[in-house]
Amino acid sequence: MTGTESQDNGLPTAGAPAAGAPAVSFDAEALRAEFPILGEKPYGKPLVYLDNAATTQKPQVVIDALANYYLHDNSNVHRGAHCLAERATAAFEEARENVATLLNASREEIIWTRGTTEAINLVAQSYGGSTLKLGDDVVISSLEHHANIVPWQQVCARTGATLRVIPLKPEHNGELDLSTLDQLITARTRIVAIVHVSNALGIINPVQDIIARARAVGATVLVDGAQAVSHFPVDVQALDCDFYTFSAHKLFGPTGVGVLYGRRALLEAMPPFQTGGEMIEKVTFEASTWNQLPYKFEAGTPNIGGVIAFGAAVRWFAARDRAAMAAHEADLLAYATQKARAFPGLKIIGDAPNKVAVLSFLLEGGHPNDVGTLLDQQGVAVRTGHHCTMPLMDALGIPGTVRAAFAPYNTRNDVDRLFAALEKVRRFL
């Protein structure tokens, strides 16, 4: 049902120029005008928002969709015998179709969750909890966010399985050491859970190589795509993964909504994650049977407004010229990286060739927290700290980093503002 002919991984191309056309010059100013929050002036200074890996801002159409739901359609989904419930249900399910199209999946394979974290917990507890046993291995990587570490740690502790970790390359540029794959992913491996793009460093993992190895030993694969979907097309069929997870709020949608893609055969076989309303077929005091997919994994009233607004975000996103947005992001990263290399005392952390538009760095003599606070005073919003990747920071031997993460609505002017602000920061250190 994917309805896409394009080669670039299930990317709906409505509104995009003809394939093969040269990347048009990208009108970032026009895009900025769609994001009302970018007009904010913290401490009286124009906002430079570079915390997009934590959450992206929302275009007006998404804010309108959320308001519109509460103004006109608010009602519960799937069971109301009235007009409003039908409208809400239609919009809710349309959003699921939109996400299915985005990922090249079927609508029954798209489960709504609260976010990436809950999606991973669902798989760890339902799939991992029901299949893992003593002697099995679960393989993750050194680049994982805590959300793709702790749920596996917990289920391993409960089942007796062992957690194994793909290490970094010895040169510590943040890339994974794939030469270890054959030793780590073996006949004992049941699950490989790997981050598509490192949230702390922006490095794009060669997930296809890792998935190929997992396939060779018959392991099930989960890909944490929280930092990937906003930057490049993702096709779960082409990837050949079993589960793919991401959060709406990092893709211009609202918080509190996440996506779990799961291969249908696995979802059918898995026990429910949470139980209660909506997810049942028939309940007696003696026993219950489960609703069909995807509802079997959606207990309770979902975040209806959030899902509907996310549908608007996905449609908005799919209608952009995504190749032009990606080219613009690549330009911002190259421009920022060039400035970073020339900046005295600045060290890029994770200086690898294959990255999304994220610049993680340290300033000599400056704790990330100091740098972040002093940038904030100048209207520049970044993220500082360990980025919920403490084991990665330990492996790199650093307390954390300063992270500037770009979105298509950022401009070279934002990069200039960042480095002008860093000049001032340097005088304090």
């Binding site: 401490y43 400056g366 704790h367 990330p368 927290n369 100091d370 972040g372 606070t373 002093l374 005073q377 500082t384 700290g385 360990h386 307390p399 954390g400 001032k424 304090f428 250190l429």
Partner: protein, 157 residues
């Protein structure tokens, strides 16, 4: 409350630290109200932190450690049997947090447990407009440091 209160701490003359004696809370309030831009304010805060004496690595033990989400604080508390006061020494891996810790010491260092327990920290931080640095979400350890000092003081009342 397991804060150590060792009777003598080598390499650290805690009883004579200027913060809380030569530099008081009133000095901090006066100075910070005098500045009108962020650069002067933060420059002053960072300079205050730099006035803290070096904190010996030997004292950076788990029981003196206060874990923040982003930065870390070490706090040594010493009870002066002579005058009943609490003497303090602090350190942090972040400059601004060191400065904020120094600002806390300007108010609480060399005071008796009763004076510390009675001290209105919220009012102090409001006066110097640094409350945002103390919100739990900042996770920089300063709030936890204040709590540890206050708990130590209360345990001695």
């Amino acid at each position: 409350m397991t804060s150590p209160t060792s009777s003598s701490t080598p390499d650290l003359d805690m009883a004579n630290l200027g913060l809380g004696r030569d530099i008081t809370a009133d000095d901090v309030v006066d100075n910070l109200s005098f500045f009108d831009d962020w650069e002067e304010r933060y420059g002053y805060i960072i300079d205050l932190g730099k006035q803290l004496p070096p904190f010996p690595d030997a004292l950076k033990t788990e029981d003196r450690f206060i874990r923040g989400c982003q930065s870390q604080v070490w706090l040594e508390l010493q009870h002066d049997a002579g005058n009943g006061c609490l003497h303090m020494a602090v350190d942090s891996d972040a400059l601004i947090v060191r400065g904020l810790a120094a600002i806390v010491l300007a108010a609480l260092n060399h005071k008796t447990p009763q004076q510390i327990a009675d001290y209105d920290m919220a009012d102090y931080f409001e006066k110097i407009d640094l409350l945002k640095h103390l919100s739990p979400t900042r996770g920089n350890g300063v709030r936890a440091m204040v709590s540890r000092i206050q708990n130590e003081a209360r345990s001695r009342l």
